[in-house]
Symmetry: C2
Subunit: 253 residues, 2 copies
């Protein structure tokens, strides 16, 4: 057996999230079951991911570690994708993991995208893949407000009550908001995020974009260190895990 | 009552197609039922569309005519979208129809897009919205071959056996194939298309893109005037109705 790094893409809609649950299907479970089938039904070690996404959250390039046979990357990818059917999870690339590497603990930076469909009409083709906001958003005001979140802060105001992290301190490295036609898109990056941090950030930035809050209120929300000071938790369906960085970078094919 | 022109968007996945069926839900039926609810449950006239899409085919800007009350366009759009819920159909814009106008018979040009996901890994986020083709396609060869389809031809080789059109003669005004990352996209335009014509055209262009057929074979297929001479009918799920042109143009808001 070899420890493999798998870069995977998934549609989070039908899943309870990354982590195995008693009730309902989790992405972790589907990955482990596909790996087990490659091994002829043998028990497999736990699949560990760079990020544990919530129910309904999507991923464009999640990285997962799991033990698999010593095949070529091509054969591992094809075999995994065969056994992952019909679930909307695909192995994009893969490779043997470097010595001592952990998908979770070796991650230097994680990136997320949040997609708002900003138009009066409801979504049709992108149902469950966007947050529908009817009122016209000022994405430039949202971008300026987002810059107030950058740096090392106590993010308690943007932290879910269920968050298990020991410290509310996080360093936000990047946060940009742009418009692409009917969509308003936030991209953000940090070494790690608190539970619901991205969804809570965009929930407050939306209040700025709608003109309900001045941009400077973001600084006051941070200073309050209190969840009720911030805006709503945006729905999971607009959130995409877009990537994770390691040093040295993973070599996948 | 006023005859309205509605520009609508829909995800074709859950529907039996545009046209009302005995078994299963059609887009036409959902539109008529929403219109009826706006009219307090009264019987409504038949909804007529610019194109009758097949089961699973999507639309970004289909135009539909139906009688509705003499409200403002804003109120018609909001009321229709309210009553269309939870179906993935949305009225984007609307306006009172010009005198003597028909959504179907006044159409001067119809446009379609066909989207191929061209990568070894299966689709996840775009399941039911693309045709998955694993082998690397030469989109430039496909584009050159597509130019051989332009003009006035007998399109019998690209016509479904169930096609009800009186003549197999059609004039193809535009057909372009391009790559956008992992996607190969065809855009095409004509006054009207035969049944399955777009899906049969891309089915043959894919054979060129995979290197199985030389580009010039497209000319031979046209000359054969025989459906078996052409490639497979590409799946409905990659097809999008993208627009219809009228002269004078519709004024919608």
């Amino acid at each position: 057996m070899t420890l493999w790094a798998l870069e995977i893409e998934y549609n989070g809609t039908p899943f309870m999230g990354w982590q195995r649950q008693k009730h309902g299907l989790a992405i972790q479970q589907v990955i482990e079951e596909a790996a087990s089938r490659i091994r002829g039904g043998a028990e497999v070690t736990e699949a560990v991911s760079a990020g544990r996404t919530d129910a309904g959250v999507h991923a464009l390039a999640m990285v997962v570690q799991i033990e698999l046979p010593d095949f070529t990357p091509y054969r591992i990818r094809e075999a995994m994708n065969f056994h992952l059917k019909p679930h909307p999870i695909a192995v994009l690339r893969c490779g043997p993991a470097p010595e001592g590497w952990s998908a979770r603990f070796s991650a230097k930076a994680r990136s997320y995208r949040y997609v708002i469909l900003n138009r009066p009409q409801p979504p049709t083709l992108e149902v469950k893949r966007v947050w529908h906001v009817k009122a016209q958003l000022d994405e430039q005001a949202m971008h300026r407000a987002a810059q107030l979140l950058l740096g090392h802060h106590d993010f308690s105001s943007f932290r879910a009550s269920a968050c298990q992290a020991k410290s509310p301190m996080r360093t936000l490295d990047f946060c940009a908001v742009r418009r692409e036609g009917e969509k308003v898109i936030m991209e953000t990056k940090a070494r790690s995020f608190l539970h619901h941090q991205v969804r809570n950030m965009i929930g407050s930035l939306k209040m700025v974009g709608e003109g309900h809050w001045p941009e400077a209120r973001i600084t006051k929300i941070l200073a309050a260190r209190s969840r009720p000071a911030a805006g709503q938790t945006a729905p999971a369906e607009g959130l995409y895990f877009t990537g994770v960085e390691y040093d040295p970078p993973l070599e996948l094919s």
